[in-house]
């Protein structure tokens, strides 16, 4: 029987799962498999599993419950093993590595931060501060039809945008780094210029959030900082 695997914890974890359900419709029943001094939370794998809202919620619900009682290695959504024995084999083979990771995550949680800079505000700032961009913009606005001008202006603006976004991203991360055990940046998407996760010790949480709030005050309303957490440490396993 194919099993869906949710998470790995130490065998001593309380694993309070009684009132939770697994993925699938009807929802599957959660159970645990032990091996190598570790435990894995699994359920029977439903046929044709897809990332439906209730399935994602079930996966996430397991992680949130487990993290409230101790360290947890959350698996990526959608992983299945051939059967319980295959899970036990992995637990036994990988026990030292998983144990090290669980120790590193003990007492910590992930905080995920994204940031966007209001584009008009950023462009205004650039036109204020860059003489080159400003004079090109004034020429175009003054009616000069040279088609090279918009290209030159756009190129100049693009360079400024990138440089300023990179500088601000570095500044934000630098400020928060002191309150985090680990960090992991990834490519921003959409309008964002920053996409970074921090692993924050429970004792540092307040300082971490306070630091970010101070930073948000300094940056004003043109920069939007969106913080999610505490979360299962998806980015630090």
């Amino acid at each position: 029987m194919t099993v869906y695997v949710y998470a790995i914890t130490d065998a001593g974890h309380p694993l309070r799962l009684d009132d939770l359900v697994g993925v699938g419709d009807p929802p599957s029943t959660l159970r645990t498999v032990a091996g190598g001094g570790l435990a894995a939370v699994v359920s029977d794998a439903p046929e044709g599993l897809r990332p439906k809202r209730r399935d994602l919620a079930a996966h996430q619900g397991v992680q949130e419950r487990l993290m409230s009682d101790g360290a947890v290695l959350p698996l990526q959504f959608g992983l299945t093993a051939e059967d319980d024995d295959a899970v036990v084999r992995v637990l036994e083979e990988q026990a030292p590595a998983y144990r090290r990771r669980l120790e590193a995550l003990e007492g910590a949680a992930e905080y995920h931060l994204k940031s966007a800079w209001d584009e008009d505000a950023l462009l205004r700032e650039i036109l204020r501060e860059s003489p080159q961009a400003r004079s090109l913009n004034e020429e175009i606005r003054g009616g000069n039809p040279d088609p090279q001008l918009p290209m030159a202006l756009g190129e100049s603006i693009a360079q400024e945008v990138q440089a300023r976004q990179e500088a601000l991203a570095a500044r934000v991360v630098e400020r928060l780094r002191a309150h985090a055990r680990e960090e992991r940046s990834s490519a921003p998407t959409g309008e964002d210029f920053l996409n970074v996760s921090f692993l924050v010790d429970s004792g540092e949480r307040e300082q971490f959030v306070t630091e970010l709030r101070q930073l948000a005050d300094e940056l004003g309303q043109d920069v939007e900082l969106r913080l999610r957490g505490p979360l299962p440490a998806y980015s630090f396993v």
């Binding site: 949130e64 992983l79 992995v90 995920h112 961009a133 918009p150 939007e224 969106r226 505490p230």
Partner: protein, 149 residues
């Protein structure tokens, strides 16, 4: 700033955490421990996460878009625009606050979130359709945006 504490030390609210899923989809689907010996079930829709990776800044299209944006910009306007939504700041120590991010969430994650929501009915055909239209929607959005500006 939007601070949204959740989970972590608090028992999940009745009804689960699905209200918070939207912002963490990328983490659930794209991160987390991957075990080589295990098989990842085929998950239509996950690819969407990759589509809206940030447009490379150095392109002619980007240059022209920036130039047009500068041209229509009201340079006299006060730099501090009124916030589109009031700031929501939760009490992190109590872990109970919730806030909704502004619309700046990436289009890609949005697309996944929408298609996830759209699947609640479980109608297979409609699901496929919604995925396709989201894909098209993403590229349409980009090009129409260029035209507007």
């Amino acid at each position: 700033m939007t601070v949204v504490p959740q989970g972590g030390g608090q028992p999940p609210a009745p009804g689960g955490s699905s209200g918070n899923l939207y912002d963490v989809l990328e983490l659930i689907l794209d991160r987390g421990l991957v075990i080589d010996a295990f098989v990842r079930v085929s998950l239509v829709g996950i690819e969407i996460l990759k589509i809206d990776a940030r447009v490379v800044v150095a392109s002619v299209d980007t240059y022209l878009r920036f130039a047009e944006a500068c041209n229509r910009l009201d340079l006299e306007a006060d730099g501090k625009q009124p916030a589109k939504l009031p700031d929501m700041v939760g009490e992190v120590t109590e872990g109970g606050a919730e806030g909704k991010s502004k619309g700046a969430i990436s289009g890609a994650v949005e697309a996944v979130a929408d298609s996830v929501q759209g699947r609640r009915g479980g109608d297979e055909e409609r699901e496929e359709e919604s995925e396709r239209s989201h894909r098209k929607g993403t590229s349409r959005r980009t090009s129409s945006r260029r035209r507007e500006e």
